[in-house]
Amino acid sequence: MPWMFYLAGAVAVAATIMTITRLNAIHALLYFVVSLLAAAVVFYTLGAPFIAALEVIIYAGAIMVLFIFVVMMLNVGERAVAMERSWLPGGIWVGPAVLAAVLFAQVVYLVMRGPGPEYPRTVVGPKQVGLALYGPYLMGVELASMLLLAGLVAAYHLGWRRQPEQESKETHFDERRTAVGRSAVRAGTDRPAGAP
């Protein structure tokens, strides 16, 4: 089904272009999710259903949710959109686009001149993927897992908050109560004058 491959590829390219040109960050990320889903369909049509499923579960379903989670908390609004607009004034993209179009034309020429792409007829199931990963590519899997572990430890270190000195020491009940009382008083002075 080569037409399905080309259709999904076209969707992926269009969605990626939309990702780059959207001013609202959440809308851009949603187009990126569509682009990843299209990439999953591309994998599926090329005979790699397992990778297609992982693309959906891990990239579209987990990593992009984290991106949206973070952008959501930044509260992008009208101001952020206006700022993005000022960063992308009209005409600035013309130069790179023309140069990229020349390269694109070259790629199209080279692809058309060479022999037609081989369309795979075999389907690689989950079992073959697993056997390959834990057979000839075992070293790569182990290296990737070490890299992930290092990232995990680093993230834990960055997120770890040192306990303040006075909290780690044992404090008497009375002292704690006065501390709470003082902070309550301080909170009271923060209020703007005239607030009820």
């Binding site: 609202n24 959440i26 809308h27 949603l30 999710v33 259903p49 397992f50 297609a52 499923a53 992982l54 959906v56 579960i57 579209a60 379903g61 987990a62 949710v65 984290l66 949206i68 989670f69 959501m72 908390m73 199931g125 989950p126």
Partner: protein, 316 residues
């Protein structure tokens, strides 16, 4: 002829799933009433069954209001995503021999993928409403569903190892002698808890905790858009019950009665169990939910995969 049969299966699954989802509105309220020692809706029609119709007329004729400050496109997209992803998951569920829309080789992965895409619905609803309670609900939903998804997939790997396939039909066929709930009891418990968290049902309904967040991510929704979230939640309950049935309780397998009847009996048992949980359990605090997921459930799941793999290797 074959194409016609396929079409009939597709529409049959759609109609039955949506009808049961609507019927659950009544079933849930009656069962809750039973367990809480009251009557529940019993006035409209026999046993109050037409309450479903009354509710549907009400929700269809309500004003469908889109908040002027909302991000319109995303606001409309969000309730559609949940229904679409859950209904797509039904495509791979084998209800009986021959009654399955798409018997994919990677059926189980397809289900996991769709359930991870369902997160977008809640997150986008919370964000696009531009309301702090909705946003808090959306953030809770994202954190909760991402955390519980991790071991939802891992808890099923024991079943995959035993059956030797990701195809749901093959998994059911592998349970002819023994339901997987016996060798994979821990996996069953873990998947059940993850499933409740994925459908955001009580006791894990913190994204819409009405005592603190009004209605959480769908606070700004009304009319049929709110109805879509509702239908999506009930469809989610049916889906998780179906998956528990298929993966751990032998799907359509059973003596005397035809396969589809066994399937429905098992599914309704788990739906009733979901409703019983709602009647019985209080809601945990959010930090308790997160630390429970990462510190208890995830290590247990990993241990389950390790032990199952080792035993299968030893006895194979």
């Amino acid at each position: 002829m074959n194409g016609l049969y396929q079409l009939a299966v597709v529409f049959g699954v759609l109609v039955v799933a949506l009808t049961i989802a609507a019927g659950l509105i009544w079933l849930e309220r009656r069962l809750l009433a039973l367990w809480q020692d009251r009557y529940g809706p019993n006035r409209v029609g026999p046993f109050g069954l037409f309450q479903v119709l009354a509710d549907m007329i009400k929700i269809f004729t309500k004003e469908d209001w889109t908040a002027p400050f909302a991000d319109k496109a995303t606001f409309i997209l969000a309730p559609a995503i949940i229904v679409v992803t859950v209904l797509l998951s039904f495509a791979v569920v084998p209800f009986a021999p021959g009654i399955v829309v798409a018997d994919l080789d990677i059926g189980l992965l397809f289900f996991l993928g769709m359930s991870s895409l369902g997160v977008y619905s809640v997150v986008l609803a919370g964000w696009s409403s531009d309301n702090k309670y909705s946003l808090l609900g959306g953030m809770r939903a994202a954190a909760q569903m991402l955390s519980y998804e991790v071991f939802m997939g891992l808890s099923l790997m024991g079943v995959v190892v035993l059956a030797g396939s990701f195809s749901l039909t093959a998994i059911v066929e592998a349970q002819r002698n023994l339901w997987f709930v016996v060798p994979q009891f821990l996996g069953f418990l873990l998947f059940m808890i993850a499933g409740i968290a994925e459908t955001r049902r009580l006791p894990f309904d913190l994204p819409e905790a009405e005592s603190e967040l009004i209605a959480g991510y769908h606070a700004e929704y009304s009319g049929m858009k709110f109805g879509m979230f509702f239908v999506g939640e009930y469809l989610g309950i049916i889906l998780i019950s179906s998956m528990i049935t298929v993966l751990f309780f032998g799907g359509w397998l059973g003596p005397v009665l035809p396969g589809i009847v066994w399937f429905l009996i098992k599914v309704f048992f788990f739906i009733a169990f979901f409703i019983l949980l709602r009647a019985a359990l209080p809601r945990p605090r959010f930090d308790q939910l997160m630390s429970w997921g990462w510190k208890v459930m995830l290590p247990l799941t990993l241990a389950n995969v390790l032990v199952t793999g080792a035993l299968v290797l030893a006895f194979a």
